[in-house]
Amino acid sequence: MQQLWTLFWIFFRIGACTFGGGYVMIPIIQHEISEKYHLIPEEELAEILIIAQSLPGVMAVNAATSVGYKLRGKTGAIICALGVALPSFLIIIFLANLILKFNDNPHVMGAFHWIRAVVVGMIAAAAVKLGRPCLKNKLQILLIAIAFVLAIFNVHPVVLILGGALAGWLITRQKGETE
């Protein structure tokens, strides 16, 4: 019981203090779980977190669920996931009230007009950063282009992602044969 509470508190603090989502959270989880509380040995935790990062979904939730499941089974998984998600849940509930209330204030509208423009630049920067590792491989560049074009024609993202998984499977098989 006490360990469950400690786990909840660790992940609640991580959820409440990290700006910028999963990639920022991983090293903090490693510090808290391995170095500070010695709950999981460093190497084992690294292996768990690498898998958690490659899974789809919210990375922070995946990481918290994996660690919780490893330590305390299903209950641990639920406790850790709730801990990491609760701070942002509460913050947004609080802010949503404000945003929906002050929506027609001209100063707030002006602020969000400028913010939205800046966010477009931020998304473009994030897309470029995410795309950079794929630029070495011609087939991957082709897949980026195909996905972009099919998205214009409203092909569902789930279909495209499943197609990508299949394409990845086939690309690597060809490579394996020539090597």
Partner: protein, 183 residues
């Protein structure tokens, strides 16, 4: 009401099961699954991105909570957010074990070789369509370009991409200046 809550839960569970690539991995799903359902305007979504970048916590949770809260209050927020998180349990309890085996891990690695570029293409498209709504002004006769927004977007890109500025600083500055000049 219950039907809407369950629908939100299912939609966000589907997003949770298929969004790759960290925070912005949710972008490709927003237009088709959330905006077309009338749950949120695109402008609202971009506001939430800004709020998310300036507050702790992952973007996905923020979006699910906001949409759920707007459409169904506290109960709606709970359904949507739990929905987004549900696949994580399935994945961790069942799939992790498969990925830990040598064959499973190798197969997954091969698939991600194709998934990653597809996600990049999808996020580029989402960035493009979001860019169009923010940077273009629909007029009575023709669509015109909002040059101020284009300039701000370019500055935002350079600040993050080249100078690695923290998003919070950028958003804070834009909020203050925007409130002063447009208010």
């Amino acid at each position: 009401m219950l039907q809407l809550c369950l629908e939100m839960m299912l939609v966000f569970a589907m997003i949770g099961l298929f969004c790759f690539g960290g925070g912005y991995g949710i972008l490709p799903f927003i237009q088709g699954e959330v905006i077309n359902r009338g749950w949120m305007e695109i402008q609202e979504f971009i506001n939430i991105i800004a709020v998310s970048e300036s507050t702790p916590g992952p973007l996905g949770i923020n979006v699910a909570t906001y949409v759920g809260f707007k459409m169904g209050g506290l109960i709606g927020a709970t359904f949507a957010t739990v929905g987004l998180m549900l696949p994580a349990f399935f994945l961790v309890l069942l799939v992790t074990r498969i990925l830990q085996t040598e064959r499973g891990g190798r197969a997954w690695e091969r698939m991600t070789v194709g998934i990653r570029p597809v996600v990049v293409g999808l996020i580029f498209y989402a960035a493009y369509s979001i860019g169009c709504t923010v940077l273009l002004k629909p007029g009575a006769a023709a669509i015109s370009v909002d040059w101020l927004s284009v300039l701000l977007a370019a500055m935002g890109f350079v600040a993050i991409h080249k100078f690695k500025l923290h998003p919070v600083i950028l958003i804070g500055a834009a909020a203050i200046l925007g409130a002063l000049f447009m208010g």
